[in-house]
């Protein structure tokens, strides 16, 4: 009897052991048991998957526009490469940037690699929306607005890429091939930039249709203005005129009464603003700041920033004597700006002479001036990606090319009338073209347009040759050498 009891007990225990093993097997084989995603984070597998997350992903694209490296790797090197500006700051600070002034840089230089990689990072953010939002069940109109914003921003970044590098890898989704080769510039224009902007202009609300709290988002006008600029770069003056005039005739925009207001806080999201990047002065990153202006702001006393991108004597000479835009574009030592006396930097020579000839004076870019006394306020500067003045310049240039000098003069003189200087009256297309380009230089100085304008119009070798520009080479930046090392599919641009 005792033996039987023992036996039953053994059986019971064995049953328990068997169940134990079964359980352990269930534990071990269960897929969920081994699936422990990171805690406190969402992963790409589950984001964005609803309307609220779609909105987060859309907002997230705009954050890239405040990345320091998105603007030419942090420094406005394309201004330094033009006749408008030199490196700035004190002679030793960022000395390597001199290579851009002198066109001695190579594919190894860090700024272009940072710019290039950051542009693609921003493109990735747009692909989160373009690829993932269509699968979300949500209001179709909102969905279309989301995707249209994404495609506008993707076009903006690709436009930077083709202006900067020419042929580039054509990434159109979140999973590009790591060995992707370069695609021809024309293909990027025709298959990404132009279709994206057409889609955006069809699906985005106009500036007045957006709620006031949404100011800063991409608009129909922004898409049209950028498209006008793109057509101008493509030499398609008919469409450039068409798009520019869409913007002009939309009644959504006008020039600020005062030229300076277009750049000051009081002009932010104002009548002249077509697309600008909102920022608040609380440091870069998640807190909402942008270091773009800090990099160029007055160095020394007042201490507003690093003081890079110094306007040249050549730029100063480009203005007519009575053009108030000179003083509104450049901060000179000794002036008092918004009640702040500009003393300047002790480590920076007030005047620089080479062979007895004055080559530079200490001065700063006033277009990034933010009233205040510290280095913090410039972090709140809104970068002006597109303003109405440029649309007028595009319209004027395109109309002149299309044989409508009268229309061109009408648009062009709006800029001169604003600052109270005499109208231009030339009607010879070539003469007028030159005058429009000169006006473009004065109006858009230090807004990173001049270098690209010179390249676009074939004037770069003539104007920049004395600084070191080599035709057939410096029209674009080289593909960063680090990229070529990492991606065997890339072939360096000829000449580099």
């Amino acid at each position: 009897m005792k033996n039987l009891n023992t036996h039953i007990f053994v059986c019971k225990v064995l049953m328990v052991a068997a169940i134990t093993l079964v359980l352990a097997t269930i534990h071990g084989c269960s897929k969920d048991f081994l699936d422990n995603p990171p805690q406190g984070f969402l992963t790409n597998a589950i984001f964005p998957e609803n309307a609220a997350q779609a909105q987060l992903a859309v907002n997230g694209m705009y954050a890239d526009l405040r990345q320091w490296n998105l603007y030419y790797g942090g420094y406005p090197i394309v201004d330094m490469m033009s006749d408008d500006a030199v490196k700035g700051s004190n002679p030793g600070d960022g000395a390597g940037l001199r290579q851009f002034e002198e066109f001695t840089f190579s594919a190894d230089i860090g700024e272009i690699a940072n710019w290039y990689t950051t542009l693609y990072e921003a493109i990735k953010s747009t692909h989160v929306v373009i690829e993932k939002v269509p699968e979300i069940e949500m209001d179709q109109a909102t969905k279309d607005k989301h995707i249209a914003q994404a495609r506008f921003l993707r076009a903006l970044h690709y436009f930077s890429l083709v202006r900067g590098f020419g042929d580039v890898p054509k990434v159109i989704n979140l999973t590009p091939d790591p060995g992707m080769p370069r695609s021809p510039k024309a293909e990027i224009y025709n298959e990404i930039i132009i279709p994206d902007l057409l889609f955006a202009s069809d699906n985005l609300p106009s500036k007045s249709e957006w709620a006031s709290a949404d100011l800063g988002r991409a608009t129909k006008g922004a898409a049209q203005a950028l498209l006008a600029k793109v057509y101008l770069y493509r030499g398609d003056f008919t469409n450039a005129e068409l798009m520019a005039m869409e913007v002009v005739n939309s009644q959504e925009y006008d020039l600020e009464f005062d030229f300076s207001s277009a750049f000051l806080p009081l002009g932010e999201f104002g009548i002249e603003s077509i697309f600008e990047v909102g920022a608040v002065p609380f440091g870069a990153g998640a807190t909402g700041g942008n270091q773009f202006a800090n990099t160029q702001s007055v160095r020394g006393d007042p201490n507003r920033g690093w003081g890079f991108n110094r306007p040249t004597l050549d730029l100063m000479a480009a203005y007519e004597p009575n053009d108030p835009r000179l003083d509104a574009t450049i901060i000179f030592l000794g002036e008092i700006l918004d009640g702040v006396p500009i003393i300047g930097d002790l480590s920076t020579p007030d005047s620089t002479f080479v062979d007895g000839e004055l080559t530079e004076i200490e001065c700063y870019n006033q277009k990034v001036w933010v009233p205040g006394f510290t280095t913090e306020e410039p972090f709140g500067y809104n970068v002006k990606e597109l303003r109405y003045a440029e649309v007028l310049l595009i319209a004027a240039e395109a109309m002149n090319k299309n044989g409508n000098s009268g229309g061109a003069l009408l648009q062009l003189n709006k800029l001169r009338q604003r600052v109270g200087i005499a109208d231009i009256t030339a009607t010879d297309p070539d003469a007028l073209h030159e005058l429009i380009m000169l006006e473009r230089r004065r109006e858009m100085a230090l807004e990173q347009e001049r270098f690209f304008d010179l390249v676009r119009t074939g004037m770069a070798a003539e104007v920049l040759g004395p600084y070191g520009f080599i035709a057939g080479k410096h029209e674009t930046f080289p593909i960063p050498s680090s990229e070529i090392a990492l991606n065997p599919g890339l072939v360096q641009t000829p000449g580099w």
Binding site: G28, L42, G60, R66, Y120, K124, L215, N487
Partner: protein, 991 residues
Amino acid sequence: MVRTLLTFLFGLIGIVSTAQTTITGEIKDASTNETLPGVTVYSNASRAGTASDISGKYSLTIQAQDDSLTFSYIGYKAQTVATAGRTTINIALLPDMKMLDEFVIVGYGTQRKSDLTGAISTVGSEEITKVPASNPMQAMQGKVSGLQVGAASGAPGSSPVVRLRGVGTFNDASVLYVVDGVFTNDINFLSSNDIESMTVLKDASATALYGSRGANGVIVVTTKKGTISDDGKPRFQFDAEYSIQRLNKKIDLLSGPEFAQVINVINPGTFNNISRVPDTDWQDLIFRDSAPMQSYNFSLSGASDKNQYYLGLGYFKQEGIIPDSDYERVTVKINNQYELTDKIRAGLSMIATPSRSHGAANVVANAYRAWPTEVPYNEDGSFADVLGGGNPLASIEYNNNETNTLLSLGNLYAEIDFFEGFTAKTSLGYEVEYSSFTGFTPVFDVGPLQENVSSDLSKSTFQRFNWLWENTIAYQKEIKKHRFDALAGITSQQNRFEGLGASTQYLIDEDPNLWYIPAGDNEFLTASNGAETTSIASYLFRVNYTFDNRFLFTGNYRRDGSSKFGVNNRYGNFGSVAVGWNLMNESFMDGLQRKIQKLKIRGSYGTVGNEKIRWDRQYTLVQNGQNVVLGPGETLVTGASYGVTGNPDLRWETTEQINIGFEFGVFDDRLTGEMDYYNKTTSDILLDLQNPGHLGNGAFQFTTYNAAEVRNSGFEFLLNWKDDLKNGIYYEVGVLGATVKNEVLKMGQLAGSGSTISAGALGNGQLVTLTQVGGPIGAFYGYQVIGVIQDEGELASSPTLPNQQVGDLKFADTNGDGILNEQDMTQIGSNIPDFIYGFNINVGYKGFSLGLDFNGQVGNELYNGKDAVRPNQYNYEANVADHWTGPGTSNTEPRPTASGVNYNQSERFIQDGSFFRLRTATLAYELPESLLQKVKLRKASIYVRGTNLFTFTEYTGYTPEIVSSNVLSSGIDMGIYPVTSIYSIGLNLSF
């Protein structure tokens, strides 16, 4: 496989038999005629078993008529006798002179040492308690060939950095500890007195059963259990030890007048009257003359023939030689096993350790830097502002922190014997840790560079909870010349962690009672929170086969599925095969067996994994804080986007290891030895590589890949001689050593900046290590020093760096291009020692014994980072007094400078960290039996011990065995808390 197991289990239910006989008897030692308790008695047909009681008697009920009983006991030859209808069987067991049946711990079980095919070293309790320290691993220094026990800090309660057979990863190289079957990363919570043995598993044959966690080596810790005592009564053991710790060496720094002279060279006229400058020795001021360490352990243990119990209670306290640093803990240990029936056993093992520590102010570098011409106090008694990094005494004064931890680890298990030779075991292990930290810095104003304008409070807590459930079936069978055992198991484990931290400023009062985060809105409040959960599910399998005690075979296999591995690589397979040959049991060795007791050759090959990887890198995380500023009021609106693209292919690092070993014992086993050659190649090492930019990860971002490969190879040996002399003296001498050659074979599949790793950040922008193909991991990297530039001519003719001047160090233009630049930096050292060794001597005479343990390392370089980083003018080491003063004055010590070329990363800061140390010297006296009987003690001994009594090294810093847990930045001395010399007196009582 599961189905097969179930069939096995349920099939058992059908077994019933009828007749019963009870056999009783007495078991004795054939040579001494003393009774033997604890002898296993096993009936081969009925499959019943028991053990002899304390008087050597046994009683066993068998069911079969034709049965046979096998009597086995460690150290004795097993005997099998047929029952032949008898009811009383007395037996005398013969001692096994070959000691073949010595068992050693292996993964998930034990194995006869003679059958062992893997490289395994065991260290017993006596050695483990030899070094006074909070962490039992401290006692392992110099005790196991191939095991390096280095120091990241000598602070109270600090854990050593342990490396086995070199470094096989760029990531976490720490060994796996298995404490009573539970996996853990550190054993700081264990009292050395509760440990029975520590077994170091080294080769693939020994570690493969730990699969993806075995690649850095495994140390199996077995805690003490109760054993049957000869009088059947419980045993009480009391151990007390009191120690004094002292700084064993001071760094030779410039005195006040010497420093003033040097400063006057750099900045003429700084000190006008050198003979009258103060001469403050900051090292004397920050280090206490002596700091106590105490350890008390009490245990109660015993066993009946059915149950075993062990209860340990310990208290340990270590004060630091830097004021206000200490560590104390209480350890509670329970180890019980119950035999429920003949076939079923259950048990529990549990450790609970509350501990508290106060961390030292970071003043070692501070005292090194402070000008000796400064005084610590102002005339009014307040802290003086001290040039050279601030007043170290003020740093000590204003440092307040406390960490409280409760750690518990344990294991509940049950096992059952079934069929013939089968044992099923289920075991549920756990580890929990709760830790909280408080740090407080009051407002103070010693000087402009040493002030705190607001009080700072920081708090953090974390909790860990791990569980481990293991189910195994073991099988043993011996048929004639064949001995076979096998193990199969299914296990699952989950580890959970969560941490929470918060800090604030401007407390309303500095009273410790207010060191809590105040409620309510507070603009200075910051908080962070993180958590992670990981799981592993595994299958394991082992077979051992021995033929005729001559040929040995072991096979291991483990399949690990881990949540740490990317979805595309969730399961990894690991395994090993090993063979051994006991030559002494061969017939051709007949006749030699009087001289040779042991002669074995063994070899193993296998692959093992390392899962201590940056597993979160498999995921593409969604980044918050991608915010947009919108609207005329410029409102910050939240956004999110994808961060760096993860690598879903990410998986474990794989170590492939070959081991060839040789063991012998001669002269009646008085001389024993082992020798091993190992060669392990770790591939798929995780490495951060830069991606092509068009993938959209942004500037300066990296993705992690399984991309690098490293090889460690070397020889290990162990020799031991012991003998009893006729006159009552016995002695033992042992020596062991290991070589390591570490070489990076491959780095990265993509070119670019991922193909080398610069690390070893000094904090001044310099990265002084470079890991690259062809060199060792974390090799020091910098300029070679080829002298001092003696004159303008030499300056003009030598390649120089900008601002290099006469009297500065001369660096080698190693690539010979005539230009001195970063391209000329080369490997200038490595922290990985070429050779690690230890030797020990024990001599005894009657009750006295003297033990000396030495250990050392050869070929480990150190980077004197505290000397190299000089953002301000600091004090110098004494060598600067002999600086260059003009042509021909010195070709080694440059002109004194506060910064500049001489502080570029170079051989100037590389020092040889080789050392030879008297690790412990112990003189013990065991009281004679006659005296013990009067005071009713079983055993009593007293001892005095010195630890780290002397260390021969050329290293100028405090501690030459510096190793960092970060393998890429190891051996950089930024001013570590010194390892001390310790003088102890102790008492062991057993009653």
